[in-house]
């Protein structure tokens, strides 16, 4: 099948059974790839009530039709499963060289089920697939694991590995690849750990065939030329996403001190310029990417020198300003610790900031922390806390289940400032002054993540206090942006360098031979969005509007300082945003897709299933 490797590799770790299933035309054309494949398999094969950390959960590792193909940045792999953080469908994507290698090995996706009897890693080299015991890697950091496997297998193997946090099933454990790239969100690392799966190693020698090579070369060469001629390319090559920090601070969006503030007085010390001048060692790109936003950096702390890719914006926001660290080198060191332990830097940073706020308010004390002075600004405290989380010891035990669970354990009103939605910690944009971004976080299908609808620029463009009309933009973005995760391609070239979407629309028929227009693809993206929502509705009788709420802090505390000092969003505003959003989506006011909407999207069987359960009308 054009644009695809043509096979799904299914590995049952309990039985050791390995099977190759042909990729069906139906799956490829309706769910495209990447996250679409993830949503399909997780909805169809992970029934309601499945323990996300039990053998019944399935981990889907999927590339897309653009992955590994001659075009800019076909580098994205999606990892999907039922999330241990949210109990809902979850996914996370990762750049680097994994997606391309998976396709060259002959697979569009891996579906990993069951649980290995002993610590193991999955070895894939073209047709050779083996579940190999690896007791000696268990307990090792994720970067060290990657090195050990590359030393053994060779540099051409691409590795995705978990650290101790994944082994111990911390619900925000990451899957790491290429020395510091993370599939950080939703606890995909914990799912791997629960399956005794330490790593995946892939190498492939096959060709990815496309429908129209000449047509593809024409469009791709135009895209490469347009990118190369863009004057903004240079700053992206120099600073990558680290440049966003200064901008975010200037517009009052930079999470600071556990999201109490959105302006960090010390942001200059965390800027992209400082990253470049103080700690940068090498530019580092994902597969076939001219932007090279990866910044390989060096950090020294207490006599130790470490190297890691990062910190990019999200890490700088959640670990840096949100924990009030003092320099980009401190952030880089903390970044390294999270990567090595295998913790999402977003949720990890948020968990530490939450702990620091609880400590400063006296909700927890030195007795609880085992002597750690958990104050904002302390890198030592940060390091001690993340070690406890990864090991699930002391305060690390409740924290390892996420800030929502920790707030339940510690009480004292702390749930008001446990900054999460659906159990997933909020990523790097404080949104009291950005209603569409706020709505984007509330309604993001996996929990409080920005990537589905990065709508903050829309708020700035049309007016930050306006409520009406914002839902439509959020929905448009929620269909457009995840398409990139389905296609297996990075979206930054479009988002940040303004590469027109029209190019991607032209690539699709050249790669796949299918004649879908971009609008057809958006319809498919809407179907996937609704399928993910349906997963939640099937999962829990009470799933709905209550799951789409931000923490109380955001509608009870006005912004204390910075450029947006005094601004706030009200409870009523939030309800208006949600009503408008649900109406436009064809969902009821409790946030459930109606049968009519599901049927319109070609999900008749899903509608019937949910109706039989009495969940939708």
């Amino acid at each position: 099948m054009h644009g695809y490797a043509g096979a799904i590799l299914r590995v049952n770790l309990s039985t050791g059974a390995v099977s190759r299933e042909p990729l069906t035309e139906d799956l490829a054309s309706n769910y495209i790839g990447g996250r679409g494949f993830g949503a399909h398999f997780v909805y169809r094969e992970v029934p309601a009530g499945t323990d996300p950390l039990g053998p019944g959960n399935k981990l889907v590792v999927a590339a897309g039709p653009f992955s590994g193909v001659f075009l800019p940045s076909g580098a994205k792999t999606s990892l999907s499963a039922k999330s241990p953080a949210t109990g809902l469908y979850g996914d996370s994507n990762i750049g680097g060289h994994l997606a391309a290698e998976l396709k060259y090995a002959g697979y569009d996706a891996l579906v990993i089920e069951g649980k290995a009897g002993e610590p193991s890693y999955l070895f894939i080299e073209d047709d050779r697939v083996e579940v190999r015991p690896c007791a000696k890697l268990w307990g090792m950091g994720s970067i060290k694991t990657e090195k050990a496997l590359k030393d053994e297998l060779g540099d051409e193997f691409q590795i995705a590995a978990i650290g101790p946090a994944g082994e111990n099933m911390v619900v925000f454990a990451s899957v790491n690849h290429d020395i510091g790239r993370q599939a950080g969100r939703c606890g995909m690392g914990a799912v791997m750990g629960s399956k005794n799966l330490k790593a995946i190693a892939v190498r492939g020698t096959r060709t990815v065939h496309v429908a129209d090579m000449a047509g593809l070369r024409k469009v791709a060469n135009e895209m490469f030329a347009v990118l190369a001629a863009n004057p903004a390319l240079k700053v992206w090559q120099d600073q990558g996403l680290a440049q966003v920090t200064t901008w975010s601070n200037s517009i009052g969006a930079l999470p600071t001190r556990n999201f109490r503030q959105n302006f960090y007085e010390n942001a200059e010390a965390l800027s992209g310029e400082r990253m470049r001048s103080d700690i940068h060692v090498r530019d580092k790109a994902c597969f076939a990417c001219p932007m090279a936003t990866g910044k390989y950096c060096r950090a020294r702390h207490r006599g130790e020198t470490v190297y890691v890719e990062g910190p990019e914006y999200e890490t700088t926001a959640l670990i840096g300003s949100n924990c009030a660290l003092g320099s980009i080198e401190e952030v880089a060191y903390a970044n390294y610790m999270c990567d090595e332990l295998g913790l999402d830097t977003i949720s990890g940073g948020s968990a530490v900031a939450f702990t620091m706020e609880c400590f400063e308010r006296g909700i927890i004390t030195k007795e609880d922390t085992g002597g750690i002075e958990a104050r904002f600004g302390s890198l030592d405290a940060f390091v001690e806390i993340v070690k406890l989380i990864a090991a699930r010891q002391g305060i690390g035990e409740p924290l390892s289940r996420g800030v929502r669970a920790a707030a339940e354990a510690w009480g004292g009103g702390s749930e008001d400032f446990a900054i999460q939605v659906k159990g997933l910690e909020w990523s790097g944009y404080e949104s009291r002054g950005a209603p569409s971004m706020m709505l984007a976080y509330m309604t993001c299908d996996i929990g409080a993540h920005h990537n589905r609808a990065w709508a903050i620029t829309h708020d700035i463009a049309v007016g930050r206090n306006i409520i009406k009309g914002k839902a439509a933009k959020v929905i448009e973005l929620q269909h457009t942006r995840p398409l990139f995760d389905c296609l297996g391609v990075c979206r930054l070239q479009w988002v940040e360098l303004g590469l027109p979407l029209e190019y991607y629309a032209r690539l699709y028929p050249a790669v796949t031979g299918r004649q879908d227009s971009w609008d057809d693809l958006l319809d498919k993206s809407e179907r996937i969005w609704n399928l993910v929502r349906a997963f939640g509705v099937r999962e829990r009788a009470d799933f709905g509007r209550a799951d789409d709420q931000p923490p109380r802090r955001f509608y009870t505390e006005p912004v204390p300082d910075g450029p947006l000092a005094g601004s706030r969003i009200t409870r009523e505003d939030l309800d208006r945003l949600l009503d408008e959003y649900y109406d436009l989506r064809g969902w009821d006011r409790n946030g459930r897709p109606t049968a009519k909407t599901l049927e319109r999207l070609g999900l008749r069987d899903v509608a019937a299933e949910l109706q039989a359960l009495g969940r939708i009308s």
Binding site: Y104, T207, H209, L233, R282, K284
Partner: protein, 132 residues
Amino acid sequence: MKLDLDRCTGCKLCQLVCSVVSFGENNPKKAGIRVVSRLFTDARYDVVVCDQCGLCIESCPVGAISMEDGVVRIDADTCTNCGICVETCPNGAMFVHPDVDHPIKCIACGECARLCPRGVLDALAGVGKVAS
């Protein structure tokens, strides 16, 4: 030949486009150039590619390798895929692929140099005739 390796980002676009121009395929393992990560040891990338030194020409027992306009080429029809030149090359710049019946090497077409986002390979484009 001096490549500007300090600027290499390891994107492998050169390897990918090489397979596209040489075989009409998306397959970086079918390329005459290799990007190697040395991040763990030296915090940098390396690019392995032929410098047209000509040492392999003599090593070939069937005379399948020759130099034309400064570019060393393998005649695929004559080549028996014995692998001797692969062993001989001091740069490790002859590559084997299970589906290709001769070693694969750079023919200095310049396409990778044209596309490299960092100008790492400009020196390559100066070798032989550069394809338009």
